[in-house]
Amino acid sequence: MSYSTFNQEQTNPLTEPMFLGNSVNVARYDQQKHSIFEKLIEKQISFFWRPEEIDVSRDRVDFNKLTDSEKHVFISNLKYQTLLDSIQGRSPNIALLPIVSIPELETWIETWSFFETIHSRSYTHILRNLFTDPSEVFEDIVINEQIKIRANDISQYYDDLIFYTQLWQTHGEGEVTVDGETYNVTQREIKKKLFLCINSVNALEAIRFYVSFACTFAFAERELMEGNAKIIKLIARDENVHLTSTQHILNLWQYGEDDPEMKEIAEELRDEAYEIFMTAVKQEKQWAHYLFKDGSMIGLNESMLCQYVEYIANLRMQAIGFDAPFENMRSNPLPWMNKYLVSDNVQVAPQEAEITSYLVGQIDSEVNASDLGDFDL
């Protein structure tokens, strides 16, 4: 079952499953099995933005005013987000493109990954502005134990799927021995790994990101690090589109609207999927503990952040058919978060950090006394 970049077999993409059917040949969108993915492509592209459009120069002044514990919160979150987007900028492509079978989903995966690379570039944009040499921050991402635990948990599902897909595409189904280790490769086994992987990615985009988002917006509530907040607001908007795409994949499988074998697998591995989400919640709470180990920040502490993780986990897990696991966390403990998560289409006041629509032709953040020279009361 080796991969071909242009499958010469005549296939009908309208009858192919989303994954592990025939590989895609013609990139055509005049007929679509799951047209939602092209609608997500259009939505995502309409949100196109460039980090360089956002002026972060004021943030350097703000950063120097932060306490050491606040600096720890800010920088740690940037490191964590850099990790998450390093993974997301490549993994959907590497893990999912070799097994995707319908053109609209193939193109969605490429669009999705591309936007994650914009996010990665924006972290460099933020850090270059804060530090003359940001190397130390980047280098710590592969040393910091707290980040490594998470990196391992997120990448293992991708890596497992990628490895089995490689074995399958080079050897076909059956037992394969590599470096003295024997693997039983079947298409069903790969489908199971795919199912767990998509759950893990959904947990990443639907829950894991929100701990850092909350800290960023808590700074912005105090009118600090607002350039950064403006960037993170755009990232959060993109992530909302991405998590919708993985929710679609999971729900299409669950409702039997795609591959009937995936419906069986979704039922069979329901408990494992549940555990993926609960592990993500547990790890994010541990991350909140690490963030505030040296002290809280005004407006946000460890316990509020943990409550928010539970609140957001309830929403996200219900979206894919689980009961809300945290019954007593039904109301939003951080209501101010929502104003940063709204996808605004209307420009109200460009100087407000929570508005994203006004990007090109930035306001000039430099004000000199001479600018007010002809201003009389």
Partner: protein, 86 residues
């Protein structure tokens, strides 16, 4: 012309909602209910609500997956009296 329907949320009192004035989400906020939402334009699904009875009409096509028996109040208006769980 107003088009007013009765909406019951979480088994509470009947609320009057005018379907010609904004989305269901906005209408319920006017009644001081704490609503779950993020994008407010139908693509994130954070406002997902259970529809026990009644019918809604989408003013913007939702991009989030709407599971059977659910509605997205941020992009719909009532077409009849509603009983919902939010």
């Amino acid at each position: 012309m107003t088009k007013t329907f009765k909406v019951i949320v979480n088994g509470g009192p009947e609320l009057a909602v005018d379907a010609t004035e904004g989305t269901l989400l906005e209408a319920l906020e006017k009644h001081q209910l704490e609503m779950h939402y993020h994008c407010r334009s139908g693509f994130c699904g954070a406002c997902r609500t259970k529809l026990n009875s009644g019918q809604v009409r989408y003013t913007t096509e939702p991009l989030a997956y709407v599971r059977k028996g659910d509605i997205l109040p941020c992009c719909c208006v009532p077409e009849s009296d509603l009983d919902i769980e939010h």
